[in-house]
Structures are given as C-alpha cells and as structure tokens.
C-alpha cells in the first residue's frame, strides 16, 4: 500500500464484527482517535453476509497460525480454535438438467420456471444473495433497537419486520398466536382457550407481578399448573418463550416477557430484521465511527502486535508500526496463548436455498419458525427469508437453521429438514419446497470463553455471535467493555442529524484563532471532512436504497 497511517492512535480495533464495531463507534463518538483494521476485504468477520459465490469460495481460515513468533518479538493475530468448522456445501440439482438449460439461458434472460433451477443459473444470480453467516433478528423493544434509536445509528440501516411466526406442532406448521389479533383470528383454538391464552399473556407481560413458589420449578410446570390445554402450553413454551422442557420458570417468564413486550411496536411480530442481511449491522456502526473521524482499512496484511511491560504497545502492519493506548480485537484474532478454554461449544448452522416457502402465502416474506426439541435433538430456530428481505432473488427463498450443536450440523438438522423440505428436486411434492443448495458449518460459541490471566489489561476481547436470536447480549458486552476502557465517558450519545450541524459558520473561525496556526488548520480540516463524510454517507445511503429498489422493479417485471 502506498499510503501511511498516522503513527499513533488512541485505540486500534482489529476486526469488524458487531461488538468491536460498536466499540469503535462509541470511542470515535467521544473523540478518541480510532484505527479499525481487518485482514478480510469485507466487513463483519463471523457476522458478515456473502453473495452465493463468495460464501462458497470463502475459506473462513486465513492462514497458518503456527511458529516463528519469537523471531520478531511480534505476537501474531489469530488462533486455530475459534473458526468455522465442518464446512460443507452442495448443489442439489441433477447435472443433465444443467446442460439443457444452459443453451436456453444465453438468449433468454428470464428466470427459469419452477423446478428448472440449475447450478449455473443460481450462480448467475449470485450477487442477489446476501447470505448471513449468522442471521440475527432484533426485538422491537430490545436493548439493541433502543441503542440504534438513542445513538441515531438507525438511519444507516433499513428494516423489515418479521411477517409471521410459525411453530411445528402435531406434525405440521401452524401459525403461532402471539398478538391479540392473532388470537382473535386463530381458528385452531376454542374461544375459552383464547381467553386463557390472552389472560396468561397479559399476566406474563405485567412487570409488577412476580411469580411465587416456582423458584426451583420449570416453566413447563408453571404452565401446566395454570391448567392450560396441551396446545396452549406448546405455543407458549416452545413458541413465545422459545424455551425447552427444562427451562426454569424464571428464565421462561423472562424470555416470554421480552417477546411480549416487543409486540405492537413495528409490524405484527416482535422482531425486526435488517434489510439486505445482518451483515449491514456492523457496517452501520463502522459508518458512524468513520463519520466521527475513525480511520478504516480492510484487506490489511497485519504482521502482529507487540507487548512490553505487560501492556499492549503497537500493531505492525505490512510496513508500518502503529502505536495506541488500547487494543480491541475479536476473539478470532486473539493469539491462542491468551485463551484458557481448550474446548468450545458450537452452534450448528445450515443455510439452504429453496424454491418455495415452507408454508405458501401471498404476503409473507420473512418467517420465523420454531421447531421444538424432540428425541434428544436441540431446539431449532429456522428463519426463512423471501425476496423482499433483500437477501435472495425473486422466487427463491433463503432458509437459515440454528441450533446448539449436539453432534454435527448435518445430524442436528436432519429431522427438521426431513419434515420441512423435499430433499431432491426429482421428488418434488406439491407442498414441500425443494432444496437447491445447502451449506453446513459449525460456528464456535465464544461468549463464555475463558481468557488467560496474562492478557494485558489494555487489550479488550470481543466475542463472536451467540445463540440468541437477537443482538442484546452483544450490546451488553460492548457496554461492559466500553465502561472498562473509558469509565468516565458516555456510551454512544445521540449523534446529531445533518441539519443540526453548522456548516461554514463564521464564529467557528473566530473561536479558533487563539490556537496556533497548524492546529487551526487541523481543526478546520477535520470539521470539513466530517461534514463531507456525513453528507456523502447520507447520499450513499439513498443511492443504495434507490438502486436496490430499481433492481427489485426490474426483477418484478
């Protein structure tokens, strides 16, 4: 690279995942000089979204982490422990089909008819996919959404609400009655059950009331004692509170409350999803960081970092050493010697491309499906994204499966896939969607990882995604780390709107005259840069939106 970074920063952030990006934004926001770098040439790390082609090509392993640390006295970033494992992808179409289709395709740009999908024409649409490594939803009244609003970062993203919630019950998919309108419109429960359910939901949502005498009991026992009918217990236990049979009463109620509390704010369900994929979220925070003067560099070759007197000193890039007071890095980039745990829990992940929705409906484009635990299999969360979420092309669906790993992703999801999908294109049944492409992997669960006591106290480590549906744990973690880093400073105060910023005000120059000339210039430059950043960022946003909309239109035509 030809350019040089300044020699010194207040904070260097290595990685662009959600937690470290929140920290980067928070530090820039209170005036710290931040350098955020990533070895990947994309944002997000384990939180990123990919096109179809890039997720297949991406190795998710950067390099060999072994050896020659001592030669240069530099610690190398990264470890072998925290990375995606068991990656396997496959196209599920027959090949002879492919050949026939190909000749047609050259002339005819239209999308193939049903059952005519081939590897080639999926890859042709590669860029219309935004495939999340780890899809996240957001509780409409959760900490994360509140943070987006209070810090004014919400404007950097667009959102869609989850349009329906389904639950697997009695060997089929049913819609989960959660709001008052759902309960009213539901035809599967009797009127008395409707009242019982509504009564329970209102009482659970009542924060004042505390449930007594259930300290050591499960949520299931609590529901059974309420004399609820079996189907209502199923809805509340596995759906609304997404719990298992052994979830404690306290936890179950807490989870149900979070769900119920977020109802009725945006849309019909309690959840929001960031349009164009969850990979947008870390970028929104990075953008705020950049607007407030943060320096960003992706695709960097980083040689390592140095420690002296038990303190982090500097990071060495390809040809330059940059010093900083503090270092923030994500767990992926932490050298193995600072990780105490030798075994990790994993999250099983599976991503599918299918040709129709699991439950056809005209207006549903984003479905959350709860698949309760059965026969020793974990609770599985399924998120089906349609065209309107901006994550897949028209007429196709992107399906994400998430569960705590028991054995391997394939085994963990086999029963769900057997029930919800037809496994091969040839055996397409009328109702079940066919799987066109599948991608399996294991995501390490790094939130409970134990770090070594030798870790210098000016290095702060950010975990990757955790199993929760939402970002609230990540926000808490970021807040906690920020408090440790800067105990006296405010965490992400509201950023001003562009119209509140004074551009080219005369007073500004008068005020600055007492600073010496060099500093003076700096002040003005920075101010102007920021303004430009704000404006160009805004414009970019609009362009993005508009171009995406246009694409949509073209597709629909």
């Amino acid at each position: 690279m030809d350019y040089e970074f300044p020699k010194e920063f207040d904070l260097i952030v290595v990685g662009t995942g959600v937690v470290e990006s929140i920290l980067s934004a928070a530090a820039s926001r209170v005036g710290k000089r931040v350098l955020q770098i990533d070895e990947n040439d994309y944002y997000g790390g384990q939180w990123a979204s990919f096109s179809l082609e890039s997720i297949i090509k991406s190795k998710h392993h950067k390099k060999d982490y072994g050896g020659n640390e001592s030669e240069t006295n530099l610690l190398r970033f990264g470890n072998d422990l925290v990375s995606l494992k068991n990656i396997a992808h496959k196209f599920h179409m027959t090949s002879n089909n492919t050949l026939e289709e190909e000749t047609d395709k050259i002339e005819n740009e239209e999308q193939p008819k049903e059952n005519k999908w081939t590897e080639e024409n999926l890859l042709k649409l590669s860029r219309k996919f935004n495939i999340d490594l780890y899809p996240k939803l957001q509780y409409a009244r959760g900490d994360f959404v509140e943070l987006l609003i209070s810090s004014n970062i919400a404007r950097y993203c667009e959102y869609r609400s989850v349009s329906r919630i389904l639950i697997w019950f009695n060997n089929r998919l049913e819609s989960l009655p959660c709001s008052r309108s759902d309960v009213f419109a539901n035809t599967k429960v009797s009127v008395v059950e409707k009242r019982m359910l509504m009564k329970l939901l209102t009482s659970l949502n009542d924060k004042e009331k505390h449930v007594q005498n259930y300290e050591n009991k499960t949520f299931k026992e609590f529901l059974t004692d309420k004399k609820l009918t079996p189907n209502l217990i199923h809805y509340v236990l596995y759906g609304i509170s997404s719990s298992s049979d052994d979830t404690s009463c306290e936890d179950g109620i807490e989870k149900a409350r979070r769900f119920l509390n977020s109802l009725g704010r945006f849309g019909n369900t309690p959840f929001l999803f960031s349009l164009y994929g969850s990979g947008e979220i870390p970028q929104a925070f990075c953008r705020l960081s950049a607007v407030f003067g943060g320096t960003f560099a992706l695709g960097q070759q980083i040689q390592g970092f140095s420690i002296s007197d038990d303190k982090f000193k500097s990071v060495t890039l390809q040809s330059q050493t940059v010093e900083a007071e503090k270092l923030v890095l994500n767990i992926e980039n932490l050298p193995a010697r600072f990780i105490k745990s030798d075994k990790l829990e994993y999250i099983s992940r599976c991503i599918l491309i299918t040709d129709r929705s699991v439950l056809d409906s005209e207006k549903e484009h984003l479905s959350l499906i709860f698949y309760p635990p059965t026969d020793g299999k974990s609770f599985t969360t399924v998120i089906e994204m349609g065209f309107l979420t901006g994550t897949c092309p028209n007429n196709l669906y992107l399906v994400h499966l998430i569960a705590k790993q028991n054995t391997s992703p394939q085994e963990d999801f086999q029963h769900v896939i057997d029930k919800l999908f037809a496994s091969h294109v040839e055996e397409t049944s009328q109702e079940k969607p066919s799987i066109l492409w599948s991608y399996y992997f294991s995501m390490p669960e790094t939130n409970d990882i134990i770090l070594s006591d030798d870790l210098p106290n000016n290095i702060f480590v950010c975990p990757g995604p955790e199993i929760d549906l939402d970002y609230d744990t990540s926000v808490d973690k970021a807040k906690l780390l920020f408090e440790k880093m800067y105990p006296d400073l405010e965490f992400l105060p509201r950023a001003p709107d562009p119209e509140e910023i004074i551009i080219g005000d005369d007073n500004e120059e008068e005020e600055s005259t007492d600073i010496n000339e060099e500093d003076h210039d700096k002040v003005i430059n920075v101010e102007q840069e920021d303004k430009e950043n704000v404006i160009s960022a805004e414009q970019e946003d609009k362009v993005n939106v508009i171009s995406a909309e246009q694409e949509d239109k073209v597709d629909q035509q």
Partner: protein, 304 residues
C-alpha cells in the same frame, strides 16, 4: 478536539423554529385576506383560487375556503352548460384538478370533514365520475388507518354508486377485523351490509364470540354482539349455548361487567331471580351506571 462536530443548541433550534412559524403565519393571514376580498357572486379571480388551494393544503379545515371553491365550481358548471362544443371537456379538466387538490389535503389531515365532503361533492358534479378509482383509494386509506370513520362513511356512499359484491365487502370487513377488532367502524360497517338471516346469523355470532373471548374488556365487539342478538332468527338453543359459554367466561373474568351484561341480554325473558342477581352484580361492578341498573331491577320487580 478531534472529531467534534459543532452542533446547534436546542435554544438556537427553538429560535429558528419560532422564526419559521412566524413567517408561515404571516403568509397564511395575507393569503386568507386576499382570497376573501376577491370573493364575488358572479366572477372569480384565478390568482385567488390558486392561493386558496395553498391555504387548504396547509389547513384543510377552513370551511369558508372550501365553500369559496364550491362557488367557483358552480360558476364553471354554468359556463360549461353554455358552451356546447368544449364545455364538458373543460369542466372535467377543472374538476379533476379539484379532486387532486383534496388528495393533496388528506395527508395533512386524513380526518378532515371538509376535504372528504368536498371530494364527494365534486364527484357529484362531475360529468363522468370514476367511482371505481374512488373505491380503491378508499381501500388504501383504510389499510393505513382502519379507524378513520370518514373513510368508512365514504365507502358506504361509494358502494351504493357501484356494484360491489356482498362477498367482497364481507371479506374486506373480516380482513380489517382480523387486523384489529377494537374498531366500532368495521363492526358497524358489517352490520350495514346485509339483513342477517338464519343461515348467516350463526357465523356472525361465532365471529363476535371470538372477539369477546379474546378481549372481554373491549366494548366494540359487545356492541356488535348486542346487535346480532337482537336478530329474531336466533334460535333459543343457540342463546342457551352462548349463556353457558358466558358462564365459563365469567369464571375466568369475574370482574368484567360486559360478561354479566351479555348474560343479561340473553336472560331477557328468563328466570326473574337470576335476572335480579345479575343486575345486582352489575351495580357493584359498574357503579357509574348504578341508577340504570337500579331502574332495571325496579322494572323487573314490577313485572311480577
């Protein structure tokens, strides 16, 4: 300091806002004066007419200005009657602009009486009114706010103008109810669609039952239930069944006055003792209407 933006204080923002408001006010006053000073019986000032549309977009609730425009329209209608060659075409162009104006006024106040009335009035004077277009606009507005009773009123007027099937409207009203059943307008609209006969009365009863069980405190469904129950085709058995269901509901919600009141409607010709007991319960649960319930009790006692 690095990366600090200079931001306006709230005081400064307030001052700017106040200045803007003052400016708007002056312009508004000036415009009103201008329009009213040129208002005449037999001719109009095109500039004033243009200004008046600006006023209405800012504040669609000035009846005087709507009336001024109606006077102008009447002049135009007369003009077009005199001009046999191009009269109608000219009038249509003029009225279409008028319809567009009401559309521009609705976003600032979708519940403006004046705007909705003006729109209908214009269409009545329109040589070729497009009622179907109005109808889809109405549906659109109702999906944005299904408690806008102006819109429901308008819909009823339109349904009389064009042939819409009963099925379509029933489906529409069910859809709105599924969205939110705490809505007097959509229940009422449903009640205007048809005369209930013995075939459909049970379906309506099930629907409204579902609502009162889902949320017994919500009064809108109870009003509809009362109307359904007043239908003479309801069988005695059905009423008894419902009474039983209400007793179950009362067990779950002992403090809800609507459940007891619902029982009263079903008991009208029933056993006197039970009726007196229910009225007494209501006196306790709903002390604000104590006098009315006491009156019920007295009347019931008289019947003996």
């Amino acid at each position: 300091m690095h990366g600090r933006l200079k931001v306006r204080t709230t005081e400064e923002q307030k001052a700017i806002k106040l200045k803007e408001q003052q400016k708007k006010l002056d312009a508004y006053k000036h415009a009103m004066e201008r329009v009213l000073s040129t208002r005449k019986k037999d001719s109009y000032d095109p500039k004033s007419l243009q200004i008046s549309s600006g006023i209405l977009q800012a504040n669609p609730d000035v009846y005087t200005i709507w009336n001024y425009r109606k006077e102008v329209i009447l002049m135009k209608v007369k003009e077009s009657n005199d001009d046999e060659l191009e009269g109608e075409e000219k009038l249509i162009d003029f009225l279409e602009d008028e319809i567009k104006l009401t559309e521009q006024c609705l976003p600032s106040n979708p519940k403006s009486y004046g705007t909705w009335h003006h729109r209908y009035w214009v269409l009545l004077h329109h040589p070729k009114p497009n009622w179907n277009n109005e109808f889809s606009l109405c549906t659109k507005y109702l999906s944005k706010d299904d408690r806008n009773f102006h819109c429901w009123d308008y819909r009823r007027l339109l349904v009389n103008k064009i042939g819409i099937t009963l099925d379509h409207e029933l489906r529409f009203s069910t859809e709105r109810l599924n969205n939110n059943f705490s809505n007097y307008s959509s229940w009422h609209y449903r009640s205007t669609l048809r005369k209930l006969d013995s075939d459909c009365v049970n379906h309506e009863l099930e629907l409204v039952k579902s609502a009162v069980f889902t949320d017994p405190i919500d009064s809108s469904a109870w009003f509809y239930l009362r109307w359904v129950l007043s239908n003479p085709t309801i069988k005695k058995d059905t009423k008894l069944e419902l009474l039983e269901a209400f007793e179950q509901l009362e067990e779950l919600e002992p403090d809800c006055k609507w459940v007891i009141l619902g029982k009263c409607w079903l008991l009208e010709q029933g056993d006197l003792k039970t009726r007196l007991e229910t009225y007494k319960k209501l006196v306790v649960l709903d002390p604000l209407r104590k006098g009315m319930y006491m009156d019920f009790i007295r009347q019931a006692q008289k019947e003996i």
